[in-house]
């Protein structure tokens, strides 16, 4: 082939026309070949060329200026406690971004303008080759591989081959077993929470215990077990911050008070409430978002994440959405001092479903 890939494609480029081996034959219309090249104003008019050159250089020049302004803005504007603002925006972020962005943008626009206006726009033709290697190359490669295999004697020495394969396969064990300490086995950790018989149900922000008469009809109170707020004899919290987060994920509850006549408890749950106040897990049984959207009138509790809706007057039954089972209810009573307390832990695992949940 006499074609030089560096040569410009000219009108009537022979290689491009009606190649008999072309998978898509140039039919029913013959390939007219590459269209003639049109000269741009910058190719033929020195004034236009000069103008384009100045244009590009100006863009690059302003970009340099912007970089310098970036440095100025960096030192000029305060951040931190008493930040400078501009039109209500943080001045530092705003001007650093504007100067940096403009500098970058102008470099980009300048380079592309340079390419479009001043670099040659004559299209070139390059030939393609099949992705596959030639038959000779394939044959040589196979021969080389075979020679290599023969030299190693891997086919003749199955003992070595098989013992090596076995050794390599067993290396998978350290790779897998080595990861065992990523975490403890689940055990039945998910089935229990910190709720115990007699533990007070306290306000989730202040940690103060709650009397039934403080909860009004239609009200929802976010609550937690008192153990999160309790201190030991030295005044130190019983649970540290991190442990609290883990336990809170399961133990967070809500208290709601409804008209006792609206509530239709299951038989065994008849005594789980106090004067129309019921206590439910706050953790959605779908994928574990905390549920908090309470519709007083209908007694429905809606999860903001995937809109599972639970009827709290009807034992936390799912009445809409993807949650697979009812919201667990915490058996509740009142202690000697008149504060709300748990009568036991939840009787079923709280939160999202999992394989061993029913065990």
């Amino acid at each position: 082939m006499t074609h030089n890939p560096d040569q410009p494609a000219l009108p009537g480029n022979e290689d491009a026309v009606n190649d008999p081996h072309a998978p898509v034959p140039a039919e029913p219309i013959d390939n007219p070949g590459l269209p003639a090249h049109h000269w741009r104003p910058t190719d033929v008019d020195p004034a236009a060329e000069k103008r384009a050159e100045r244009q590009v250089a100006t863009l690059f020049g302003i970009a340099s200026l912007m970089s310098i302004l970036f440095v100025v803005a960096y030192f000029a504007f305060e951040v931190g406690e008493d930040p400078d603002t501009f039109l209500g925006l943080g001045a530092s972020t705003l001007f650093l971004g504007l100067t940096l962005g403009t500098a970058l943008l102008l470099i980009g626009i300048g380079a592309i303008q340079w390419a479009r206006k001043l670099m040659s726009d004559v299209e070139m033709v390059e030939h393609r080759h099949p992705a596959a290697s030639s038959d000779e190359d394939r044959a040589s490669a196979v021969a080389a591989l075979r020679q290599g295999a023969d030299d190693s004697g891997i086919a003749r020495r199955p003992l070595i081959r098989n013992s090596l394969l076995g050794a390599l396969a067993l290396l998978g064990l350290p790779a897998i077993v080595g990861l065992r300490d990523l975490g403890p086995a689940p055990g039945n950790a998910l089935a229990h929470t910190v709720w115990r018989k007699g533990m007070r149900i306290v306000n989730d922000v202040s940690g103060t215990p709650i009397r039934p008469e403080e909860v009004e009809i239609g009200q929802l109170v976010n609550a937690e077990p008192s153990v999160f707020f309790d201190a030991d004899e030295n005044g130190e919290p019983i649970m540290d911050g991190h442990e609290v987060l883990v336990e809170k994920t399961k133990a967070a509850v809500i208290l709601v008070r409804m008209q006792p006549r609206d509530i239709t408890p299951l038989e065994e749950r008849a005594n789980w409430g106090v004067d129309g106040i019921l206590c439910y897990s706050k953790i959605c049984t779908h994928v574990g978002c905390p549920i908090s959207l309470w519709e007083q009138q209908s007694h429905h509790l809606l999860c903001p994440c995937h809109q599972s809706t639970f009827d709290l007057a009807d034992n936390g039954k799912v009445i809409f959405g993807p949650a697979g089972h009812a919201l667990p209810q915490l058996p509740m009573g009142v202690d000697d001092e008149g504060y709300l307390i748990a009568l036991s832990d939840f009787e079923e695992p709280v939160g999202p479903s999992y394989w061993e949940r029913g065990e």
Partner: protein, 576 residues
């Protein structure tokens, strides 16, 4: 290389030995780079706006690396509890993780920190969006066909890794919103049959949220995934260079050549310049558009959530299906199978990704086409392929809308439950309708091409015959356009096979053959094939004849010839 004709305007002249030349010689003496360089310095890339989409993805990735390195200098990937004492007054004295506290520090106390955070987040959104659009471009134009199937598979993996990278990054600040996202991810993991709780406990180092997830995600986010992404992007680009870029058909452009501009200097300037443009745009976005203002959400607290919680957009389809799923949860032999979580959140993404990833092989099996293709197809030229992706996009789009069903309900004052019921039906019916419409649409566009080839284009000139009939004047399209339209395969519709030989004995693969033949038939049967040379000539002959018959008959008219305003003489309507 003496006296060769280059595409430059002046010949390259050898000047006195320069420092650069000496350095190049020094390098080549040691690594022999000239051999590879001579082939690639003037490598030809074809030009089309749609070839830029993948470039946006590539450059956003580079921006992510740069801005990400900046952020690592201050971010503390630790869940240790600290009492906040920084510049953001509202949170002073609050307990929070070091990760969240250091994110606040980057946002409020590091100059350019908030800018970089926002550039990083915007670039991440852009990265994934550009990959999606690039995927659509490659799909709709058939650029995934042989020999590029493997590059398509690599591209699909890049999309998956990009989304995972986005999710892990989104989780790092340990704010309320990202913690809720992790909580949902934990719920999804737990829904897996048998191994669910183990997955969760091993990832979180115990019960959710534990105190190791942030450092672990950090290692995944800044080391593991970027490493894999880099390696795969490298492979993606190497294959691109090896295969040479596809091109649109047109005069002079064939399956055997590639027509375009040389890498050095044109493409280097355009692509390199484009990097700065993408970076510049993300920097301006970072300066002007707030994204993920974590200080508004507060530190993570497993007992709190905000209404209207939304993941980043690329997780929206998953979120949507999770929302509209019926509450399927079954007990099997004492074990719980939460299908309403597992199907949409764990299985669907895997199925969707597999369908996309293996599509080239599926299409190849149906069509039996084993040839190399370097010329792109227009979407209309493969109606079923186009319709398939339109159906997928419809499915994806509906799920996306479903993922914001609470927002839709508030904004349009609709009933949330009814939106959900509607979506349950729509995600099944919508894609089917979309498939049918897109397929017929593509075929009618093929007919339109046929019309143009045989009868010319519509000029907009209305002719009235002496007996009062109005017709529109058609004129032949240019040779170049006609060639471009016809530069496609002539497809053969296979006969339906019974899978039996002449004696009525079914072949061992009869069932498969029948299915394939039926699919092949569906694939091609309704397509409009380009005209043959004879048909084209007959049509042209006819058109020529028409022109000759009516030559001299026409008078341009604007309708005022008969109301006395002016005469038809000197009518210049056609020049307007």
């Amino acid at each position: 290389m003496s006296s060769i004709q280059t595409n430059g305007k002046t010949a390259a002249t050898a000047t006195k030995p320069s420092k650069a030349g000496a350095a190049a010689t020094w390098v080549d003496d040691r690594v022999g780079i000239a051999g590879a360089a001579k082939k690639n310095i003037r490598k030809v890339f074809p030009d089309h706006w749609s070839f830029m989409l993948g470039e946006i993805a590539l450059w956003s990735f580079v921006i992510l690396l740069l801005s990400g390195v900046f952020l690592t200098l201050w971010f503390k990937p630790s869940m240790a509890e600290v009492i906040y004492d920084g510049s953001y007054e509202q949170y002073r004295g609050l307990h929070m993780s070091e990760a969240y506290a250091s994110t606040l520090e980057i946002s409020f106390d590091v100059r350019g920190g908030l800018l970089m955070r926002q550039i990083h987040h915007w670039a991440a959104q852009l990265f994934i969006a550009a990959m999606f659009v690039h995927l659509l471009r490659v799909f709709f134009t058939g650029a995934f066909r042989k020999p590029r199937e493997l590059n398509w598979v690599i591209g699909s993996l890049l999309l998956l890794l990009g989304i995972l990278e986005g999710f892990t990054g989104y989780s790092l600040p340990d704010d309320l919103l990202s913690g809720t996202g992790l909580r949902i991810a934990d719920g999804i993991m737990k829904s897996s049959p048998v191994i669910g709780t183990y997955l969760s406990f091993f990832l979180f180092g115990g019960e959710f949220p534990g105190d190791v997830i942030i450092p672990r995600l950090y290692a995944i986010h800044i080391l593991l995934l970027p490493g894999l992404l880099l390696a795969l992007i490298g492979a993606h680009m190497m294959l691109l260079v090896y295969h040479k870029h596809t091109q649109w058909p047109g005069p002079g452009r064939t399956e055997q050549n590639v027509v375009g501009y040389p890498m050095m200097p044109v493409y280097a300037a355009k692509a390199g310049g484009f990097f700065f443009i993408v970076f510049g745009v993300t920097a301006l976005m970072g300066a002007l558009l707030s994204i993920n203002p974590v200080w508004k959400y507060g530190p993570y607290n497993p007992a709190e959530v905000t209404a209207g919680s939304q993941p980043d957009w690329y997780m929206g389809f998953n979120e949507g299906l999770m929302r509209i799923m019926p509450a399927w949860e079954y007990e099997i032999g004492g074990f719980t199978l939460p299908l309403s979580v597992f199907l949409p959140a764990a299985l669907l993404p895997v199925v969707l990704l597999s369908v996309v990833m293996f599509y080239p092989f599926i299409e190849q099996w149906i069509t039996g086409d084993k040839r190399e293709h370097h010329l792109l197809q227009r979407p209309r030229e493969a109606p079923n392929r186009t319709a398939f992706m339109v159906a997928l996009m419809t499915f994806y789009g509906l799920l996306w809308a479903a993922g914001g069903n609470d927002i839709l309900a508030v904004v349009f004052r609709l009933d949330l439950n009814q939106i959900t019921y509607f979506m349950r039906v729509a995600v099944v019916v919508g894609p089917v309708l979309a498939f049918i419409i897109a397929r017929r649409w593509a075929i009618s566009l093929q007919r339109h091409d046929q019309e143009k080839l045989l009868h010319g284009y519509e000029t907009g000139v209305i002719m009235r015959s002496p007996d009062g009939e109005y017709t529109e004047r058609h004129l032949p399209i240019s040779e170049a356009e006609a060639f471009t339209i016809t530069a496609r395969d002539r497809e053969e519709v296979p006969a339906l096979t019974s899978g039996e030989d002449v004696n009525g004995v079914p072949a061992p693969t009869a069932r498969k053959d029948r299915l394939r033949a039926r699919l092949q038939h569906f694939w091609y049967a309704d397509n409009v094939q380009k005209p043959t040379r004879a048909e084209l000539e007959a049509a042209r002959h006819h058109a020529q004849h028409e022109l000759e018959v009516h030559a001299g008959e026409e008078h341009a008219a604007d309708g005022h010839q008969f109301d006395g305003r002016h005469d038809i003489h000197g009518e210049e309507l056609r020049k307007h």
